[in-house]
Amino acid sequence: MSLPKPVMRGLLGKRLRFHLPIAFTLSLLAAVSFKVITEPRKQAYADFYKNYDAMKEFSAMREAGVFESVRPTGE
């Protein structure tokens, strides 16, 4: 039986040529996804606390009756 001679050279180069573009693409994708997810979240938190009145919220919650330390005004 005459088998063909197996490939002896260029194995690392072949592997790199195949895997490096994939590696770069995936890393880029990971970085972009990170930005795409975190930037809106940070913005949402900033917007929420820009005009946040803690005392107003506290009073509203108190009136609703969710606290045990302070009861709604009038009780």
Binding site: R41, A44, Y45, F48, E57, A60, M61, A64, G65, V66
Partner: protein, 194 residues
Amino acid sequence: MSARSRCFLRVSSFILYEQRPRAERMLATRALRFVGQRALSTSVCLRGGHGVAKVEDYSLPAYFDRREIPLPEIKYVQELSSVQQSLKEKEKGSWTALSVDEKVALYRISFKESFAEMNKATGEWKSVVAGILFFLGFTGVVVLWQRKYVYGELPHTFDPEYKEKEIQRMLDMRINPIEGFSAKWDYENKAWKK
């Protein structure tokens, strides 16, 4: 067979297969000559008070139809019929004199299944999938039966009115007001945000 007349020692009672070719009365030493043709009997030969260990079936060379054993240790057909015997004699001559059928017959003497036959797909996967689906269905039957006959009533906390009160309390507590639950509620208009 001349071998039968050679040894006149005790016959064993542990013969497992009828096809044991050589006689029970064979000496263990003589029998070793025929190892390649699976001629060892399973009998015990006693000589001068000493015992020879019984040769178990599984310790003898066996025939397997496997891809990784292309040439098994023994031929498939151990006892040749007269036709096969004459064919074997003819095989000792020039092979160009053999017809195609004779060559196939010689192949079948040595091997049970060809590579194509032994590697054939079996369709077993259909039985496996059928079994999987059947037992999935059976599990579903068991679950439904349980729901009907085993489980009791749901607790009162599942009632719609109770659930409404739960949601209202979550909104009052401002659960996840930035990106989550309460963020979707419009507190000015007392409705869910569009």
